[in-house]
């Protein structure tokens, strides 16, 4: 520093505390003696000879050192002191020993004698040049930066403030303000600018606070930031708090705008939430949230409107408890899929309403990966289901019409053959050309057989054929068909068998299954006029959840699947959609009845299975038969040896019960021609007297479908009387006789109408022989 350089070296040696000496120079003005004593520092600052100052100078020296511009002020202040003022506090410029002009601060007081006479005027002089410069800088900084400063001595009612401080508060500029005046401008509840107590001020050490004030001049509300620190070096041992304030209104406004923006955003979110809520509340569809363990967590009011359940009645229950018992499997399958995190769409379930009715609900469920909750929407499709039922009914009626028309057409053709043949035969006989009649009779017979075959297929299609179901090893069955298939397919088509290992058994009518496979093979052959490859494969399939085949659902379970694949032309989708329709055929008229696939379908459905068909144009077609796995005890396959020639009776007595007179006459004629003695009855009532008589009877032949007591009941009665009486049932179709094994007891057989005479003869012979043997 300049003063340090200017300070004479000997002085530094005299004073062991140069820093203190440097800080202030002291003076003593002896008023009665009119002499001024000062230390070296004072002398240096005021440009006086230090030695002279030490030993005493004329008092004029005090004012003479003051720079001319400030001299008058100092003289007046000194005059004030000499005339009774007690304190002297002035800042002024002096010309110092090194010739520079410096700012000094003089602080002084007086000492008086007891009588009040002024003895001494003493004080210290401090170099504040640097301080002044800093103050000036500070003032500029405060004005430019808008920072107001304040200093509050603990316990004082006023605070020293800067001009900028006053301007920030909208007060008249001054350098001291009452604390209360300052704090009154602060809005209620905000932190005060100057803390009341020392403790608060100390606790506030270095604190930053933001507060609002109402400006004194125009009442504007402004945000101020206050920052400061407490220093324990105030007057009288107290502390002082030195701080600054500055305006942060723009920052606060921006902050508020941001907050407003955030609030707007919140409002919008809330609005969205309200919208969602409205959807939730007003929707006609059922909304539901399920826990990961599928308990109802939340349901919307539609549940109450549609099904009558309040939320309280549902929350906590397990989903599925309201489902129709028949749909439980579907529910389980659905839940398993949801458990794997899959979405489930478009599942129709019947849900029980509170009043006991069931409504069809179409469900969509989405499992939420994050929380495992399941969100579901259900739409009431009861009306749609009813419409669908009606549609199905009308489609059925349409199909029946189509079927009837097709049947009539086919039957007319066949009847034409039968009637024409018989007519021609009669003519030839009447003309005496009996030998020529046989050919026409054959024609008529062939036509009649075709008709019989047609009705048989019809029954198969209607799933009302009489199935002789037994456990079947499909691999054995397919293997035994290899020869037959080779011959059927011809040389152009090669046959491949791919039989799965350890194939499960299924329970079915092996003859009908053979027919079905053969039928499919013929279709496949016909699809490959240029030749190709036909593959029959078998495989075990386990379905864990419902699969879809042929447009219908296959329930979960174990299946033996038989696939018949060709490498033929394949079918376009529109054809594929109709392949199971009765009388639908791709073949030219006359080459097929169109009952083939529909018959297969009917048969497989009757077995509890399903048919799937997959086809691509140009690649080929695969038909898969899903037959349910059979897990019961194996039964020995029965094979009836075929008779070589028509077996004849030996006068055994047979009771024939048949309501149709033509059939009755015909069968009776046949029986007599075969060498049996026949008695006849039109119904069960008429048969009873004979059965209950003592007349010998070897066998009962009865129609199943009789008026009044049916054939099965009649057989019961007959067996009661004659326990071992063999009974042969004849059936056109009998709903109750569709499953033979449950219908027939030991010693009972069944024969389907129409039947060749030879079959009847063979069956009678077998029954009577085993009956007599047993």
């Amino acid at each position: 520093m300049a003063e340090a350089a200017a300070r004479p070296a000997p002085q530094a040696q005299r004073d062991p505390r140069p820093a203190l000496a440097q800080a202030a120079g002291a003076w003593v003005w002896d008023v009665p003696a009119d002499r001024l004593y000062a230390d070296a520092r004072f002398a240096a600052l005021c440009g006086l000879d230090p030695e002279a100052a030490r030993t005493g100078l004329p008092t004029q020296a005090f004012v003479a050192a003051v720079a001319p511009d400030d001299r008058l002020r100092v003289r007046i202040a000194v005059a004030g002191i000499l005339r009774g003022s007690e304190t002297f506090a002035k800042e002024y410029r002096v010309r110092s020993a090194d010739g520079t002009v410096r700012w000094v601060s003089a602080r002084g007081g007086v000492e008086r004698a007891d009588d009040g006479e002024l003895l001494r005027f003493t004080g210290v002089l401090a170099d504040i040049t640097e301080q002044k410069r800093v103050q000036e800088q500070l003032r500029v900084a405060q004005t430019a930066g808008g920072v107001g400063t304040f200093e509050h001595v603990d316990g004082f009612g006023t605070a020293d403030v800067s001009e900028q401080f006053c301007r920030l508060l909208g007060l008249q500029t001054t350098d001291a303000l009452p604390v209360r005046t300052i704090n009154t401008l602060v809005l209620d509840g905000d932190p005060l600018i100057i803390r009341g107590s020392r403790e608060e001020a100390q606790a506030d050490h270095g604190a930053y606070s933001e507060l609002r004030i109402r400006r004194a001049d125009n009442g504007d509300e402004r945000w101020l930031a206050r920052r400061g620190e407490f220093r324990p070096d105030g007057v009288g041992g107290g502390g002082r708090f030195i701080g600054v304030i500055y305006d942060i209104t723009p920052a606060k406004s921006a902050e508020e705008e941001l907050r407003q923006l955030a609030r707007t955003l919140e409002d919008r979110v809330a609005e969205r939430t309200r919208e969602r809520d409205r959807v939730w509340k007003n929707a006609r569809d059922l909304f539901v949230v399920l826990s990961p363990r599928r308990h109802y967590l939340s349901v919307n009011p539609a549940w109450s409107r549609l099904l009558g359940y309040t939320a309280d009645e549902l929350v906590g229950r397990r989903y599925g408890t309201l489902a129709h018992p028949d749909d439980m499997q579907k529910v389980e399958a659905m839940m398993q899929r949801l458990g794997r995190g899959e979405q489930v769409e478009d599942v129709d379930l019947r849900v029980r309403a509170k009043d006991g009715d069931h409504r069809w609900i179409n469900w969509t469920f989405t499992p939420e990966a994050e929380d495992g909750f399941i969100y579901g929407v259900g739409r009431d499709v009861t009306d749609r289901k009813q419409l669908e039922d009606q549609l199905r009914q009308s489609q059925k009626m349409e199909a029946v019409g189509q079927l009837t028309g097709g049947l009539a057409h086919d039957f007319n053709n066949m009847l034409t053959g039968v009637m024409g043949g018989l007519d021609m035969a009669r003519r030839r006989i009447s003309q005496g050309r009996a030998e020529e009649a046989a050919a026409f009779m054959d024609t008529a017979g062939a036509a009649a057989e075709r008709a019989a075959s047609l009705t048989h297929r019809l029954l198969a299609f209607s799933r009302r054929q009489s199935l002789d179901s037994r456990p079947v090893d499909v691999n054995t069955l397919v293997g035994s068909m290899e020869d037959l298939l080779h011959r059927t397919l011809g040389e152009q088509v090669s046959l491949g068998l791919a039989l799965g290992p350890d194939l499960w058994r299924t329970r079915t009518d092996s003859n009908q299954l053979e027919n079905a496979i053969l039928n499919l093979a013929i279709n496949a052959r016909d699809a490959m006029p240029e030749g190709g490859q036909l593959t029959v494969d078998t495989v075990n399939v386990r379905l864990d959840w419902p699969a879809v085949a042929g447009g219908e659902e296959i329930p979960p379970g174990d299946y033996v699947v038989i696939g018949v694949s060709d490498t033929g032309a394949g079918m376009p989708p529109e054809v594929l959609a109709k392949v199971f329709d009765p009388f639908f055929t791709t073949k030219p008229i006359g080459q097929g009845t169109g009952l083939g696939l529909s018959m297969v379908y009917g048969f497989v459905r009757q077995c509890g299975g399903q048919v799937g068909i997959y086809s691509d144009s140009g690649i080929g077609t695969t038909v898969k038969l899903y037959l349910p796995r059979f897990e019961g005890e194996a039964e020995a396959d029965e094979h009836t040896p075929r008779a070589i020639s028509t077996p004849r009776g030996a006068g055994e007595r047979v009771l024939l019960v048949e309501d149709d007179p033509q059939v009755r006459v015909l069968v009776r004629t046949v029986l007599e021609e075969l060498g049996y003695r026949a008695a006849e009855a039109v119904d069960g009532q008429a048969a009873l007297p004979i059965l209950e008589s003592e007349a010998p009877l070897n066998l009962l032949i009865t129609d199943v479908g009789l008026p009044g007591m049916n054939g099965r009941q009649l057989a019961e009665v007959a067996r009661a009387r004659r326990p071992d009486l063999p009974v042969l049932f004849m059936t056109g179709y009998a709903a109750s006789a569709a499953e033979r094994s449950s219908f027939l007891e030991a010693g009972m057989r069944m024969i389907s109408k129409p039947f060749p005479l030879e079959t009847l003869a063979t069956t009678l012979r077998d029954m009577l022989r085993s009956g007599s043997a047993g």
């Binding site: 005059a79 009774g84 008249q172 009452p178």
Partner: protein, 212 residues
């Protein structure tokens, strides 16, 4: 700002501050004798302002009711001198002066103590000024008035009265008690002109003395 400083130049203002300083020093000495405790009075600012500005200054600084001791003065200068405290502070001042008393005693003594304090302070200031300015001033008996700042500064009933206020802000430090007050001298413009002249004479005297 201009309104406040236009009447006295810087040197005159300094001189006036010194005059008041001398007066207040005497007052402190008087109070010291009365209270028997350390009393420091300091004069942070001396301003000459219009009545309206004086009222605004008081209003800014004081939100509560005020109490004042008023003395009229006559002579070369005509006007009123007021020692003004916030009412809150007057009790503190009273306690300082009279010691800790019962509430009812305080109430009885309040005006009396105020009058005595006001008398000491105002008399010291006015007498010192009269002395320094070498013009006799005659002083009336002090009286206590209470009310809003604006009311205190009414010199006369004439609304057109454009008088000024010589406004002094002083800090009282009576031991640990926190007391602040104001000294206001209400003068009309002719009196202020006279004050200006007298201060000029005082300055000349002071400088002349030193020169001599």
């Amino acid at each position: 700002m201009t309104e406040r400083t236009i009447l006295l130049n810087e040197l005159e203002s300094d001189a006036l501050t010194e005059l008041v300083n001398i007066g207040v020093s005497r007052a402190a000495s008087g109070l010291r004798q009365m209270v028997g405790r350390q009393v420091v009075l300091s004069v942070p600012s001396v301003e000459v302002v219009s009545r309206a500005a004086a009222a605004a200054l008081i209003r800014e600084r004081e939100t509560g009711p005020l109490v004042a001791v008023r003395q009229d003065f006559h002579g070369a200068l005509e006007g009123q001198a007021l020692l003004i405290f916030p009412e809150q502070n007057s009790i503190e001042l009273l306690r300082s002066v009279a010691g800790d008393l019962e509430a009812h005693e305080l109430a009885d003594m309040e005006d009396e103590a105020l009058l005595e304090t006001g008398n000491i302070v105002l008399n010291s200031c006015l007498a010192t000024m009269a002395n320094m300015l070498e013009r006799p001033l005659e002083m009336s008996l002090p009286q206590v008035i209470r009310g809003e700042g604006a009311r205190l500064f009414v010199l006369s009933s004439d609304p057109a009265d454009a008088g000024v206020v010589l406004f002094l802000y002083i800090n009282f430090a009576v031991s640990d008690r926190d007391i602040r007050g104001y000294i206001a001298m209400l003068m009309d413009l002719p009196s202020l002109d006279m004050l200006k002249i007298l201060i000029g004479e005082f300055i000349q005297r002071v400088l002349g003395e030193d020169d001599g």
